[in-house]
Amino acid sequence: MRAFDYQRPESAEAATRAQSGAEARFIAGGTNLLDLMKLEIETPRTLIDISRLPLDGIAPTEAGGFSIGALVTNAALAADPSVRRLYPVLSRALLAGASGQLRNKATTGGNLLQRTRCYYFYNPATPCNKREPGSGCSAIGGHTRIHAILGTSPHCIATHPSDMAVAMMALEAEVEILGPDGQTRTIPLADLYRLPGDTPHIETSLAPGDLITAVILPPPPPGRQLYRKVRDRASYAFALVSVAAIIAMENGRISAARLAFGGLAPMPWRDREVEALLIGEAPSPALFAAAADRLLATARTEDGNAFKSPLARRTLASVLATACAGNS
């Protein structure tokens, strides 16, 4: 691990000012950042410890939703009684990720900002456009079992590994950000992430010094909430494919649908055209197949991840069938 200067600012405002300098990183849970620092993939000159800032509460909002402090642990969020009752898709997604030990340390903000687990990003001996811009992508043409098939570019096919963010995407969560100018702004979660394009090293819309202070959940949408994760072992593994679904039915037809996908793309993936195709229709295998066709219309696969297309198709059909049956 490279040497760094350790700081523990007394306030969020002081933290953002400290981080707006060059090569500084915030640290909270540290479960991903320290892993990457040990491998010298992350080499911050300054480490700003925000773990003791008072951002660890879960509070109702005036709009009828909840504000989740950026430092709420994944374990505390999954176990929160209101989250379990009103946002089960979020509890389920959190509980499907990592291990008990990691969930006790990993935070809400850190989970959103965790880096890809692409084998080549993690291996400093191989080229990677995310790690060393312009060096090339070793995954394309390499081992791609865990890689993306949607939203990729010729420069990067890495996936975003979070389960939590997939559920939050379906819940239309917003991210509250404090900037180094002391101003707070709120953006949709979908706008936090950037697709790789020709700058895969730029993963979010955050500017230097920006600190995520909270995630805002809108009031729970109508319908049944489900999270389904398919992975290589039964526990403690990243998703090959995951689906967060919130489906409402009226008179035997789908009246509202939100779908978000993990394991398929460089960011938690939502496609409104897939959802629009379901609205007003009676559930059927043909409808679910049409939804999968639309989802995968732009899929670009490698030899090693081509299986994800049929896997996503079958997982989506299974989730939709379960969600619709639970509503009738």
Partner: protein, 168 residues
């Protein structure tokens, strides 16, 4: 850099490099070698300790971040003359072969039983709002962050089930 760690009820003043993980501080600076280094990347669970009663991977946090926190290692769970219930159950059920993962398993199980008692659900809990039962399936899921390369899992689950069942 100066930090005071509270480990097993005793305060220790240390002067350490900020890069020192909590795991390395325990093993190399405080000679508390019960906590094991396996992968050093949060994947194996051998380094599990209790931080303010919650189980965490001590390899993935920095010692300087834990001034004033209550740190409990396997050495703090008992004395050689009076084993903790989980330690006794691991002996009785032969919940190990080489023993390297055992301190992490026992610290993790200690924290896990508290999580069950607090009503925390898991990935395999059917009803998110009901109090979870301590089934073998629940134990396996909740202990998935602790690997045992000897694969003593059936006996580890037996040991935890006995203590968890008796605690209910």
């Amino acid at each position: 850099m100066h930090v005071t760690l509270s480990v097993n009820g005793t305060e220790h003043a240390l002067d350490i490099d900020p890069r020192t993980t909590l795991l390395d501080a325990l093993r190399d600076h405080l000679d508390l070698t019960g906590t094991k280094k396996g992968c050093d990347h949060g994947q194996c669970g051998a380094c599990t300790i209790l931080l303010d009663g919650k189980r965490i991977n001590s390899c993935l946090t920095l010692a300087v971040m834990h001034e004033g926190d209550a740190i409990t290692t396997v050495e703090g769970l008992s004395t050689p003359d009076a084993l903790s219930p989980l330690q006794a159950a691991f002996v009785a059920h032969d919940g190990y072969q080489c023993g390297y993962c055992t301190p992490g398993q026992i610290c993790s199980a200690t924290g896990m039983l508290e999580e069950i008692a607090a009503g925390w659900p898991s990935h395999v809990t059917d009803d998110l709002e009901a109090d979870p039962a301590l089934t073998r399936e629940e134990i396996s899921e909740r202990m998935s962050g602790n690997l045992c390369r000897c694969s003593a899992y059936p006996n580890i689950v037996d040991a935890i089930a006995e203590v968890g069942g008796a605690a209910k």
